[in-house]
């Protein structure tokens, strides 16, 4: 940043940078007032790095079995212990992060890819399409999330991809309804009316004027849905309907751990703690993000 004398005569671009730096600082100060949210965000970032870097960070091959090391309690060589086939639990938890993140993020991206355009159209055009879509989402939401996912996996067959699709399909109606509601509130605002009066066509109004104004609310919803999706994937894998063994997933690991609660309880600790800490962090970060974007809410 320029010195005092320089700032007076600073050219326009430097002033712009300064304002930008100022708003960044302000944003940081507002964020720093919510330490739990910051911690949550940091933990989510940590898991994200773990998911991306699992092949390089994990100390051991998550699939390599070692018969002399079956169900060993945590030691220096295996800080999280080993499982019923002598595999390193730490490495499996790290690789499991990958699967959980993948399932959580991609299923919600799928739900948004279908739900947001559909909700935009329904809220913008109203009419018969809107009515039909609303009744359809009513019916769709009547299927309990897990029951719908189980039903879909039954049709599609159990695998990580199909579990991700099933979770995404289950989360879609929420995004349709949320987007529609936000569009209904936004489309009557003056700047949208103004854009229309200036001759912008429907597509332009939706993409350039309505969508940017509802993005933050959608983002907040996403931080709530991703942890739900992560738990859903773990449940499906736990029930044997998601990731298939020997692939390391937190759900399948907990399923295996159930049989050895007496002799190897650590098999159940780590994958569960991983799910718990990740979903808790997502929720903390999400709460913070919501307050940050909308300070008038409690």
């Amino acid at each position: 940043m320029a010195g005092d004398g320089g700032a007076v005569a600073a050219p326009a671009s430097a002033v712009g940078r300064e304002i930008e730096a100022g708003s960044l600082q302000r944003a940081w100060r507002r964020a720093a007032r919510r330490p739990p949210a910051l911690i949550g965000a940091a933990v989510v970032m940590f898991y994200l790095l773990l998911a991306l870097g699992a092949p390089w960070i994990a100390p051991d091959d998550p699939l390599r079995t070692e018969w002399s090391q079956i169900r060993k309690a945590p030691t220096a060589a295996h800080p999280f212990g080993t499982d019923d086939l002598g595999r390193d639990i730490l490495s499996r938890v790290m690789w499991g992060t990958r699967i959980s993140m993948q399932a959580g993020v991609f299923s919600i991206l799928l739900a948004m890819a279908v739900g947001v355009p559909a909700g935009l159209m329904a809220g913008y055009y109203r009419g018969v399409f809107d009515q039909l879509l609303m009744r359809l989402t009513d019916a769709w939401l009547s299927f309990p999330f897990l029951i719908l996912a189980i039903g879909l996996v039954t049709i599609l067959g159990p695998s990580l991809t199909n579990a991700t699709v099933a979770i995404g399909v289950g989360a879609t109606p929420t995004y349709i309804r949320l987007t529609r509601g936000l569009v209904l509130a936004t489309r009557e605002l003056e700047f949208v009316q103004g854009a229309r009066a200036l001759g912008a066509n429907d597509l332009r109004v939706m993409a350039r004027h309505i969508l940017p104004n509802i993005t933050s609310a959608l983002l907040v919803q996403a931080t709530v849905s991703v942890p739900t999706a992560i738990i859903a994937e773990a449940i499906l894998s736990f029930l044997g309907l998601g990731v298939q063994p020997p692939q390391p997933s937190w759900g399948t690991m907990l399923n295996a751990a159930q049989q050895f609660l007496e002799s190897a309880p650590w098999m159940a600790w780590w994958p569960g703690l991983a799910i718990f800490s990740l979903t808790l962090s997502f929720n903390l970060a999400g709460d913070g993000l919501r307050d940050w974007l909308d300070p008038k809410d409690y």
Binding site: R135, F238, L254
Partner: protein
């Protein structure tokens, strides 16, 4: 009032029709011969022919759908491939177990959520409020199946206080039944308690800032009387709605909880049906679950028109 009821009923009817269409289409999406899907892999030609005639699988699809709905309305959802028992009978046998579990879970959730939610609204932004909020956040984030496993580990394996799994009838051995139900009910109730606590807190905060509450205070009523006589009654209406909407989550939760604690209820039934590829049973269970969700929420909506007279007038206009 009557208009609202009629409109609400009409919407529920449309929803039920759509649900039946989704379930019907879903089963038709399973690759392979539908008769074979309905009858199981070990059925012979005669069995397949019988199924084809019963469900009219040679007829056009719309006719098939109408016949299927007709049979379903008469309480005939086909029979299980594995046990040959009628789907409706199987469900009727399993459902009471899950209903018992769910009732205990709701009871535990209410006992925790309402006092804590009211307290944290009244003592807003104090230590107790923060503690309650942290607990509710943990309750929302903890995966129920892991909580279940950890409870088994602590209370059954380590301390030996409670049996880890199994089921005995409530009518035959009430004490043993409660011993086996308390852990699954607590696990199932945790997430619900967290949701209800947040809802109770938010709606109590809203109600406590209303004019009539200020009036109650200004005419000299004690804080306790204001909260218990005036605020709670209105503050809890949204909680009833949320409870209705949470029945879906409760059913999902029951699937997992029953799996961990080996409770032979509705949730375990669906998982078994999926693994044995018992399609008629899966189809029946999914249809019954979704329909009961619609009916429960219809009842909830109707019940709160009784609780809150304003909804009778304005509720119909909100366009849902």
């Amino acid at each position: 009032m009557l208009d609202y009821l009629i409109q609400r009923l009409a919407i529920s009817a449309v929803t039920l029709v759509l649900i039946s269409l989704i379930v019907f289409t879903g089963v038709r999406l399973i690759p392979g011969d539908p008769a074979r899907v309905m009858a199981g892999t070990d059925a012979d030609e005669a069995g397949l022919a019988e199924i084809r005639v019963k469900y009219g699988l040679n007829d056009p699809i719309p006719v098939q759908y109408l016949r299927w709905v007709g049979l379903a309305l008469q309480g005939d959802l086909g029979e299980s491939i594995r046990t040959r028992e009628s789907v409706v009978k199987t469900v009727a046998r399993k459902l009471p177990i899950t209903v018992e579990l769910a009732c205990f879970a709701i009871l535990i959730a209410l006992v925790i959520a309402i006092p804590v939610g009211v307290l944290s609204a009244v003592r807003r932004n104090t230590f107790w409020d923060y503690l309650a909020n942290s607990l509710s956040l943990c309750g929302l984030s903890v995966p129920s199946f892991w909580l279940g496993i950890m409870l088994i580990l602590l209370l059954s394996v380590r301390l030996g206080w409670l049996p880890a799994s199994g089921f005995v009838s409530l009518l035959q051995e009430p004490v043993a039944n409660l011993q086996r139900m308390i852990m699954p009910a607590f696990v199932l109730g945790t997430a619900l308690a967290a949701v209800l606590m947040r809802q109770t807190r938010n709606s109590m905060i809203e109600v406590l800032s209303a004019d009539y509450i200020r009036t109650a205070y200004s005419k000299g009523l004690a804080g306790r009387a204001v909260v218990f006589r005036h605020a709670i009654r209105n503050g809890l209406i949204p909680v009833v709605t949320i409870l209705g909407l949470q029945t879906g989550a409760l059913m999902s939760g029951a699937v997992v909880t029953e799996q961990i604690f080996v409770v032979p209820g509705f949730g375990r039934l669906i998982v078994e049906a999926v693994f044995t590829r018992d399609y008629p049973l899966v189809q029946g269970v999914v249809l019954i679950t979704a329909s009961s969700y619609v009916l429960i929420n219809l009842l909830v909506d109707m019940s709160y028109t009784l609780l809150d007279p304003r909804i009778r007038v304005h509720g119909a206009a909100d366009g849902r």
